[in-house]
Amino acid sequence: MTQSGRAWKYGDNVNTDVIFPGKYTYTLRERDEIAAHALEDLDPTFVANVQPGDVIVAGINWGCGSSREQAATCLVYNGVGAVIAESISRIFYRNALNNGLLAIVCPEAARAIQPGDKVAIDLAASEIRFSAGTFRFPPFSPSIMGIVDAGGLVPYVQCKLAAQATAYGDGVR
């Protein structure tokens, strides 16, 4: 699976409050509402200009702070395909993969990619390719790939529960 898009580049320690402000977390539930506030306090030009498949590129500790899953889903709902960073906070990392958003830790690529670069991600080869070169990242484990392939944790678990129901023949567990 290869996907590609343009790079949006940001700095170090970008936190969840600027990715998706806390004041919205208990009131906004709809996709469009959540998408509309993505990166609101970091980059007000983002929502109007992001294109499906675009990639976020960042420095260390991307997504630190809150556990709010909208920090990942607000990007997914805007069509973002991946986050490539020097390092990624652990809850954001999980939230991203659990929503089918690739979270890739690759310090070399994160440093080299420039804003607007066209970036291609080849999951099968675990490679990031762009004009300045090709960078390898550690492949995802089979369990994480299972979740990513299913399109996220919820569809993954739906499948698992359905399989169990068939196996035990008792419907809902």
Binding site: N13, N15, T16, D17, V18, P21, G22, K23, T25, Y26, T27, R29, D41, I60, N61, C64, G65, S66, S67, R68, E69, A72, S87, S89, R90, I91, R94, N95, N98, N99, S141, S143, G152, L153, V154, V157, Q158, K160, L161, V172, R173
Partner: protein, 455 residues
């Protein structure tokens, strides 16, 4: 792996949670947490969970739900959110539902002894590492993961590498666990503990009050840590025993079952006490001597001083003595980090007989209803109010910008909270400084950032 190879706390806790004899660092396990925490986000998690098509969650008895992040409801939408949560708890038979005003999730679950030493708690709240104060494995997770736990009771976790932080000696007067936490994050960076299990060791840690111990694992969320750990001791067990008694009495329970045993509560009170104490102790987990640590950092308490984290990241840490003339429009004392009785006591000590500076407002929000009652009895609330402080309902207050103390653009807040990200308190144009309760109170009195020594 043979049992004789020394193991970290995280290895032991996750082996227990996964039902395995032992686990290796880096291993991915299916963990079955003892407790799953959610709060005002419960209704949104329910929306995700409904996609699994279940009538009933599979772990109602392991769930704990608090309404704390926007309480009392500031808008109709927030009120609808709470109403949905109440309906859900009712229909699912979730007994551990804590109403508006009971307090902040981490404080309430600690007071209710819902988490015991050695247990694993996963929470859809990033400060779930908090429960390391009592020797539990606490980690934050997302909403889809919480919904998955409700539906299946288990979740994949990777066994993290561990970092050891040692503290020797007693903290000097006026220096607190908050200052120690800020110093660590200032020294090593907001990503210094990224993905690590942070273990606190040393006589300096065991010398801390329980309320002070709670600050350290709580703040490790700002260090990037997955979880944190402090070894439980007799004081920990006493605290949990008192909380357990209070809860079991309220529930009218005649029996308490945990850690694979059941204790009848109807016998001789002294014997029951002993049995409960033994049961709590039996679950405790301690890292082995010689366990593998990726890093070790040592601090001497005598070298620490009061610190302040400056806008807009928690690792912009400087000694309070180096900040001069920073005017504050708002001082905020509260949150799961520093809203406990000893924090209110420290603030009351500072403001006693003094007045809050004109042009500055001082907002005090106890972390729980029990803290509020204790502080009332001790006279701290009266002292704070006499000085000109404003009292809010126990809960998160303005910590994450929901309501009750939102700064205006251009204003400066000094806060006892854990996070000073741009926009955290509602507007990206306000500045947030973080400090200990004593520094927050002294700043409220001075109108500029100040240490208690400056009064």
């Amino acid at each position: 792996m043979s049992a004789s190879i020394p193991q970290t706390f995280a290895q032991k806790a996750l082996a227990r949670a996964a039902g395995l004899p032992s686990v290796e660092i880096g291993q991915v396990v299916d963990a079955r947490p003892d407790v799953v925490l959610s709060h005002d986000n419960t209704a949104a998690i329910r929306q995700i969970w409904r996609q699994f098509g279940q009538e009933k969650v599979v772990i109602p008895e392991r769930m704990a739900v608090t309404m704390d992040h926007a309480v009392p409801a500031p808008t109709t939408r927030h009120a609808q959110n709470h109403a949905e949560i109440r309906r859900f708890a009712q229909e699912q038979g979730i007994r551990n539902l804590f109403e508006v005003g009971r307090g902040i999730c981490h404080q309430v679950l600690s007071e209710e002894a819902l988490v015991l030493p050695g247990w694993t708690i996963l929470g859809s709240d990033s400060h779930t590492p908090h429960f390391g104060w009592l020797g539990a494995f606490g980690a934050g997770i997302g909403r889809s993961e919480t919904a998955t736990l409700w539906a299946t009771g288990e979740l994949w976790l990777r066994v993290p590498e561990s970092m050891r932080i040692e503290l020797t000696g007693d903290l000097p007067a006026g220096v607190t666990a908050k200052d120690f936490a800020l110093r660590i994050i200032g020294d090593l960076g907001a990503d210094g503990g990224l993905y690590r299990s942070v273990e606190f060791h040393g006589a300096g840690i065991q010398a801390l009050s329980l309320a002070s111990r709670m600050v350290l694992p709580n703040m490790m969320a700002e260090f990037g840590a997955k979880n944190a750990y402090i070894a439980p001791d007799d004081a920990t067990v006493d605290y949990l025993l008192a909380g357990l008694h209070r809860r079991l009495e309220r529930e009218g329970a005649t029996e308490f079952c945990a850690n694979g045993q059941c204790i009848s509560l109807t016998g001789d009170p002294v014997t029951v006490d002993e049995e409960l104490r033994a049961l709590i102790r039996a679950g405790a987990l301690f890292p082995d001597e010689g366990a593998p640590y990726a890093e070790t950092h040592c601090y001497h308490a005598a070298d620490l001083e009061p610190y302040v984290a400056c806008p807009h990241t928690v690792d912009q840490v400087v000694p309070v003595s180096q900040l001069s003339g920073v005017q504050v429009q708002q001082a905020f004392l509260g949150t799961c980090t520093n809203g406990r009785l000893e924090d209110l006591a420290a603030a009351a000590d500072v403001v006693r007989g003094r007045k809050i500076a004109s042009g500055t407002r001082f907002l005090v929000i106890p972390a729980s209803s029990l803290v509020l009652q204790d502080a009332l009895r001790a006279g701290y609330i009266e002292t704070l109010l006499e000085a000109g402080a404003v009292l809010g309902t126990p809960g998160c207050g303005p910590c994450m910008g929901n309501h009750m103390g939102i700064p205006a653009p251009g204003e400066v807040t000094i806060s006892s909270a854990n996070r000073n990200f741009r926009g955290r308190m509602g507007t990206p144009d306000a500045e947030i400084y973080l400090a200990s309760p004593a520094v927050v109170a002294a700043s409220a009195v001075c109108g500029v950032i100040a240490g208690p020594g400056d009064l």
